[in-house]
Amino acid sequence: MKISFQALSRHVDLQGITSAQLGDVLPMLGLEVEAVHTFGLAPLPSVVVGEIVSFEKHPKADRLSVCQVNVGEATLRQIVCGAKNFKAGDRVPVALPGTVMPGGFEIKVSKLREVDSAGMMCSSEELGLGKGEDGLLILTPQQPAIGTPLNKLFGTPDTVLEISVTPNRGDCLGLRGVARDVAAALGRSLLPQKVQTPSGSVATPSAQDAVQFVRSTTPICPYYTLRTLTDVKVGPSPDWLRRDLEAAGLRPINNVVDITNWVLLETGQPLHAFDAQKVQGGIEVRTARAGETLTLLDGKTVTLDSSVCVIADAQRPLVVAGVMGGADSGVTAPTTTILLEAAWFQPGEIRRSAKRLGVSTDSSHRFARDVDPAGVELASRLATDLLVAHAGAKVVGPAVAVGKPPRAEVKITLSAGYVAGKLGTEVSDDEVTQTLRRLGFTVQAVAGGLEVIVPSFRSDVLRPIDLVEEFIRIHGTDKVPVGRPRAPLPGEEDATSAIFIREVSQRLVGAGFTECFHYSLRTTAELERTLGTVGAAALALENPLTADQTHIRASLVPGLAGALAANVSVHADPRGLFEVGTVFRPQADGTVKEFLAIAVAQLASPITRSWQTRPDFDSLQAKRLLQDIAGLAGVAEHRLSYATLEGGLWQTSHAATMQDRGRVAEGAFGTLSLRWTRELGLKGAVVAAEILLPRSAFKDARKMARFEAFSSFPPSTKDVAVIVPQTVSAGEVETRVRQAATKAAGKEFGLEAVICFDVFKGPGLPPETKSLAFEIHWRHASRTLTDEETNQALNAVITALEKGAGWTVRR
């Protein structure tokens, strides 16, 4: 809302207060100042009225004129000018050299295309008066004396502060409400509002009224008033009124409309004026009938239904109640009799109507935030005064009022010391009383505390805590002391997932990966690549804003692959990238589950050359990272199993899934689909890995590890090489070896490790087979193992592999 300093001064004495000081006061009352403008002509003492005595075309520039200008000096000034809208003898504003224009530009004696110019003739815009006609501001009609400082022709400039009003403060959508807060903050009194039109109303129209009936048949409008004014002469508004509207950013239309708007700005109460001739029979406030149509002021025709409340005559709806007037019942030049409406509507209903019609007007904005029911009549009387004074209107009698101003009196009991207790500092009940009274609250000391009656314009204040806010706003938040922190509570620890995120991030940073953050909202194409069409559909947004942000993400890998490509394209070596974040996956039971995902991606071979090369980043390095991350999340390595995977983001048979037996963690690693990464612009292969952990993985606080004793005797190691068909996975063979080696050790000693140290395919082996060699470590807890024991154990392993699994052991 735009607050004119001059208009505000009518409501509160601002003597000695600058607009800059006001700009500091308002935010601390909860009225944020978003912008400050000068309205009118800023003080420009060296801009004077000049007369263009003569002019000729500039010898070197077609678009410029060289003018001889009389500014009341002994000699004429030569000024070069680019405007075209003047003739000899015109009077115009002239900025003399040394003037700093409102835009900050300083006028100097200069040469324009080699011709001397000693000043500048000004346009409306250059003077900061807003966009006027093209070219110079022509002052000729007013015939101001040559040499008169321009400021003498224009009034004192005003300052307009644009404030944002929070939804709870409907009362501050009128100047009066803002003034009340300012007065309270400055400790000054609110100036009285003068009204001539008497108070009072009648329940039914009299013969003089221009309507036969006024009624409200809907609870949306519990209070409706209508006043007939005759002999209205529609015409322009007086200058002061136009000025006030323009300062507030409204366009003057005619005196009747301007007066209703002016009263709205003053009080926050929207009013509406009907042309009585266009109203048939009377006025009824009712819910609209399904299918009724109404052409609104903005020219749009809307089809109504029972969700909208209208002001109708005997025939048809005229106005969407509280939102917008109709195109054909408003005041126009020939109007002579008007019906002035002032009413109160249920805020929630007006908000719904406005939303339903997709409009927000000055009126609906205020009704939706609750206007003061007790201010309805006052607004009508203020407008009547002005219509009488400035539109020649005659009052035929009291207003017709149906219903009563709603709202019961709100009385709040503040127990002694309540406010102080919430602030955490000493304030006396007397201070509280004085402060609340300044805001219009009625406060009385009662046994055990204070009794506060809330004024009708503050529907947001209902509870003791609301009064604490009122008090501190005016008392000043700077008086709240800086409390000394209390000691922490024992036994509190971060969520396990938060600790995990910290650890896993540090681990990956240590491994050379740089962390990325990508948007959670992704494209349809990406989701379809990740999950297929059906899976993708489960993650679509209801109301996406843009075509490239239609789905919630199912994987961090596409983001990382994109980041690799983007960095490579700008010749920045991305090295390894990682991301930690939430992803979503549709589940078999039809729900969508959130997972904490950790993903890494790296080009298989780096783009930066080095004097010494390191091996490529490969899928098994990615696997190692995943195993470590699973371990950090409490999923032991031996619980993980693997299977090759096909398609999607991954390159078939060069990538695998990882899963743990308890289905706590799932993941994938390997080479990304080459077709896809090439589409992204990456020439080489990308190796990536991603692990997904559900919330349930982090339910429990982590257990402290317990110490386990270990043997101080040396291990015995034996090698075994197995020839298996190429289709058999290394994991399967290792599991067999492990089982056999465990069994062979029996209860006497233990298996410590099975390490695959050689994989061989090629000459010397039967076709379609491969050889896998393992080193087996056994160890005894309390002595060194004998050769005999280990040889026996090895033989048992060999037998198990050959007889049990049907494989050949190399001898």
């Binding site: 601390m28 909860g30 944020e32 939804p167 403060r169 908000r351 719904r352 207790g421 919430k422 602030l423 955490g424 500092t425 805590i465 609301d466 604490v468 806010e469 501190i472 706003r473 938040t477 409390g483 000394r484 922190p485 209390r486 000691a487 922490p488 509570l489 509190e492 971060d494 969520a495 997932s497 938060a498 990956l508 940073v509 240590g510 050379g512 740089t514 962390e515 953050f517 990508h518 948007y519 959670s520 909202l521 947004l541 209801e542 109301n543 996406p544 804003l545 983007a566 960095n567 920045a572 070596d573 991305p574 090295r575 990682f578 939430t582 729900t591 969508v592 010494q612 390191r614 919330r695």
Partner: protein, 346 residues
């Protein structure tokens, strides 16, 4: 005898010069001190000597033996040095670059988050988390923002279809599912699941239906704070925020609480920050976060008795803080992941 020994030592010394490998060393050793070695032969001759001569000759032999041992020790040193030298590659040039990639680094938003969480941890606030897909009840209703409340106008929300069912945030009734617009929903979940007193901070990703530009992002991050206890006051709020700001922006940063409105706090404030160390944003009030005392209605909705319990809450934007701390002028940098940006904050 003396002469013979001197000759023996001299010969050994002479021959030792040509020994370079361990095999040659072993052969040489055998020639001198082996069972048939020259010195061994002499020592065997001791037995034939008279009682009187023995001490004199013994002394001579010992001296010769010592000399030979010294020769052998020196030889061993020389041979080992040669072996080690051959086991090494070319000498180190310490100025050559390591071919390995350096350590990575955290994203500036993660670093900022961890710094902030660390500050609050010192005040006893521990991290709590909640789902990113929420139901309207947790995001709005429980926070005293019913359907027709004008405050819902303040946030343009991304919704999920009616058919969407979240495994992590089941509906309470038939309310709509959405992407949370603030981390304040974690306040609700915490109050419903834990017994006060507690102090939590909830970092997390939030969503608005905003077009992306230099200051807007469809997703962004907040850190939410909630302290529920008996007798929590505005002085506590100011104390907590003052501590946080001085931790993050230095001891000469100041704060002010500017009255504002949020449905879930009463009284509500915007906290403004002013610091002399923020480049071109120095020495002016900057809006940093919303805060206030938890509205009694919210306590009630979350099953806490407002007569007994009170609380303070605050929510700050991670991007905003990171931009101020590091002088970053465009929020999109955080999501473009150009490593030339990411590596500036290591």
């Amino acid at each position: 005898m003396q002469q013979q020994l001197a000759q023996l030592v001299a010969t050994a010394r002479q021959e030792s010069a040509s020994v370079t490998t361990r095999a040659e060393l072993e052969a040489f050793k055998a020639r001198v001190v082996g069972p048939h070695g020259s010195l061994t032969q002499v020592m065997k001759g001791m037995a034939t000597l008279s009682k009187e001569d023995r001490p004199v000759v013994g002394k001579l032999i010992n001296e010769a033996k010592k000399a030979v041992e010294e020769i052998l020790a020196a030889l061993l040193q020389k041979v080992e040095d040669a072996e080690i030298a051959s086991a090494l590659s070319a000498p180190l040039d310490p100025t050559l670059p390591s071919p390995d990639a350096p350590a990575g680094n955290l994203h500036p938003l993660s670093r900022t988050r961890e710094r902030i969480l660390n500050s609050f941890r010192k005040l006893g606030f521990t991290v709590a988390e909640g789902p990113e897909v929420e139901t309207e009840w947790y995001c709005f209703d429980a926070l005293n923002t019913p359907g027709d409340h004008p405050a819902r106008d303040m946030q343009d929300t991304l919704y999920l279809p009616k058919t969407f069912r979240s495994a992590d945030a089941p509906r309470r009734q038939e309310e709509a599912m959405l992407l949370r617009t603030h981390t304040s929903s974690v306040q609700v979940r915490t109050m419903l699941s834990r017994r006060p007193p507690f102090r939590i901070v909830a970092p997390g990703r939030c969503f608005r239906r905003d077009a992306v530009d230099a200051t807007h992002s469809a997703n962004f991050h907040q850190v939410e704070g909630l302290w529920i206890d008996r007798g929590v006051t505005l002085a506590d709020l100011r104390g907590v925020l003052d501590f946080f700001v001085k931790e993050t922006f230095g001891a000469d940063a100041e704060i002010r609480l500017r009255p504002s409105f949020f449905p879930f706090t009463e009284p509500s404030f915007e906290m403004d920050l002013r610091s002399p160390n923020l480049g071109r944003l120095s020495n002016r009030w900057l809006e940093i976060m919303g805060c206030g005392l938890v509205d009694p209605k919210v306590l009630e909705l979350c099953g806490l008795d407002p007569q007994e319990w009170s609380g303070l809450a605050f929510g700050l934007g991670l991007e905003r803080i990171a931009m101020l701390v590091h002088g970053i002028d465009d929020i999109r940098h955080f999501y473009q992941n150009d490593v030339r940006f990411l590596r500036q904050f290591a």
